[in-house]
Symmetry: C2
């Protein structure tokens, strides 16, 4: 049904997008790129989802206003400072947009602005004033341009995150690619950490928003590194239409489904990359819930399991402490019959059934150690009460998470 | 108004209570006591609050039935195994009660049963069958008896937790004392970790339950070590009337208030002891919220702040990363105006204002380091929107939390 192929690259994989990333001086270390710029050749349909945190970063306020008309053409994003809880935050975000206009010609009101880093740290426009011309000159419609942008938005991430797929709409080959960052303060709620997606498909702004909202619900909103919902979460997508497909203007039909499948594939893969690269993480932890009476129950249970700090620490220690899975199911808030719950742990090394009908069953500690020592662990929970299912992604809790966050500002 | 004095001791501080703790063989290490027994000379009024986790330990099911009549006379509690998610859990908990009856004469239906330790670990009645006679012989109405019981209920706790106060009801001197345990899997919800309280005051069962429920709401329910609500949380209180005060039969008046104040004092102090002794913790973290529009808002905000793993790690590192406080306030779910929020950090070394009207203000990093290096840190949040206030207790997140929970079962 859904037919897409993963291809190399990220935000410059689709036609008509150039990108750049460089060190402009927001970070102290000259070795680290700190501003990314992404530009579409033509104005594009735009859609976004934002954090639900009441404390919302100034860049998000500005972005919301800029894409209220469903149109955008450029994205500028700095790392090293979240531009949040600063008295002059909106002024700086507008200033960043003005500088993009000055050096790229894209209208300031078509610029999406994002910032990530320390909250409440004083910030000035100076690095942008001094460096935007140089950054704009680096814009390139190449894999290298996209990779530089992916690198420039990293904070405590240890790897840059790029994904792209090609797919077909009405006989035309389209491409959708994206980059994301996110390592700590991750528990998106109706939105996500920073994720920038570009496609050359022609998609109307409303359809784009509907597809994005639907996909975010099942991908980024099912991701948690530490239960902390950031103030600056945002995922946005630009669709510039340069693939010349018949524009998608309805939220139904084969083409809409094909587009949504491609969008889901990119977002899910970025999600897994973010979870596996969670602050201090050594393992990707996936919880797959099946047999739920409804989707809400399945999601609530899956998220509760991957958020349990006790289970996360046990997974770090490769300890098959399944009682913590039952405990997290029990306090999730979902209504369910605990005496019907089955739990398995699994990895590439095999499947380990540990609980049937809410009670423990004997298992080999050796087999458990072998399975849980892998770097991708799945906890499968069957509620045996219906047909709904859900998946959530997280990571283990390690010494390094504490180390990274014990002294983040310096 | 409220007039009470802290005195030494715990569950044997009040008249007519004896206690014991010993190694019966649930734990492997012979060095560690693993069963506590507390007995009142006379049947006592009894009240309890329980975990809201859907997965509820078998001992709690049995206890609920035993004190449905508002009366109890003994408490038996083992550590080392939670007796939860075991097929024969209720049978074992009833068996423990029967053995208490056999060796102390207290009716099995007047026994409160509790267990704490690993969930879903097979368990047998054998250690109790073999050891209960010896344990009953150790019962003593002495500080040593109470201390042995406090020690026997410890799991990853590093210190035993005992508190007692004396107070006066209608001219009669009464005493209320308690012990508690709890170090990890702590985020009580309408209940708490294990806490056993005894008083010689004469208090009707209904009044006792009302007072306990009210106090638990503001003490144990405002405590979080790791956001994980255990399956076995319980706080219970026995009132045997041996102080011979005029029995308290109404939830109003000076005597009721005096009793509630004494109960609050004991519970609050146990709460602080539990937070400070949280798994791996090096610091007690208190969040005091004031100026809220209502109590619910104040509580929601206070709990969100002390639960943030990012803030907890920053406090471990003595890093004044107040943006994480704002972030936790923002995602708490409470409706409030972020632009009015003020935040201070403080300890015995002084007060450090860090945020006014939702924006950062300059502060000395040296002063911050000095204040945050203490072992009791308070985060004061003023919402400037009303008169309601609340307090919540937690602790820092450290390497040792990960270490303890990476391999808890072995």
């Amino acid at each position: 049904m859904s037919d897409f192929t993963f291809i190399p690259g990220g935000v410059t994989a689709a036609k008509g997008y150039s990108a750049a990333g460089d060190h402009l001086g927001i970070r102290k270390s000259r070795q680290r790129k700190d501003v990314a710029l992404i530009v579409s050749e033509a104005p594009a349909a735009a859609a976004a989802c934002y954090t639900q945190n009441l404390v919302m970063g100034a860049p998000l306020t500005v972005t919301k206003a800029h894409i209220a008309d469903g149109c955008a053409q450029a994205i500028v994003c700095n790392s090293g400072n979240a531009n949040t809880c600063n008295a002059n935050g909106v002024e700086i975000a507008e200033g960043m947009s003005d500088l993009v206009q000055k050096y790229t010609g894209v209208k300031a009101s078509n610029v999406i602005v994002a910032s990530t880093g320390v909250i409440g740290q004083p910030m000035t426009l100076e690095p942008f004033t001094n460096g935007m011309e140089k950054l704009a000159a680096l814009l390139a419609a190449t894999p290298e341009g996209g990779a530089a942008a992916a690198e420039a938005i990293m904070t405590t991430d240890t790897i840059a995150k790029e994904v792209a797929v090609s797919f077909s709409l009405g006989g035309k080959i389209c491409v959708l690619g994206g980059i994301s960052k996110g390592s700590g303060m991750i528990c998106p709620n109706m939105a996500t950490m920073l994720c920038f997606l570009t496609t050359d498909a022609a998609v109307g702004a409303k359809v784009l928003q509907t597809a994005l909202s639907a996909v975010v619900k099942d991908t980024f909103n099912m991701l948690s590194v530490d239960g902390d919902t950031s103030t600056n979460d945002m995922v946005c997508v630009l669709a510039n239409g340069m693939a010349k497909n018949q524009p998608l203007e309805a939220c139904e039909g084969a083409d809409y489904e094909a587009f949504k499948a491609a969008l889901f594939a990119v977002c899910e893969r970025l999600c897994r990359m973010m979870a596996k690269d969670g602050e201090g993480a050594t393992k990707l932890l996936t919880c797959e819930v099946s047999g739920a009476d409804c989707e809400a129950t399945a999601k609530t249970v899956a998220k509760s399991v991957i958020k349990s700090t006790l289970l996360k620490a046990a997974i770090f220690g490769a300890d098959a402490n399944w009682g913590r899975v039952l405990c997290a199911i029990g306090y999730s808030g979902a209504a369910l019959d605990v005496s019907k719950v089955d739990v398995d742990f699994s990895s590439v090394k095999g499947v380990l059934p540990v609980c049937r009908s809410g009670a423990g069953i004997p298992f080999s500690e050796e087999a458990a150690k072998e399975i849980l020592s892998e770097d991708e662990i799945t906890v499968s929970v069957s509620l045996n009460a219906g047909c709904a299912a859900a998946k959530a992604w997280g990571c283990d809790l390690t010494y390094d998470y504490v180390k990274i966050n014990g002294d983040y500002r310096t």
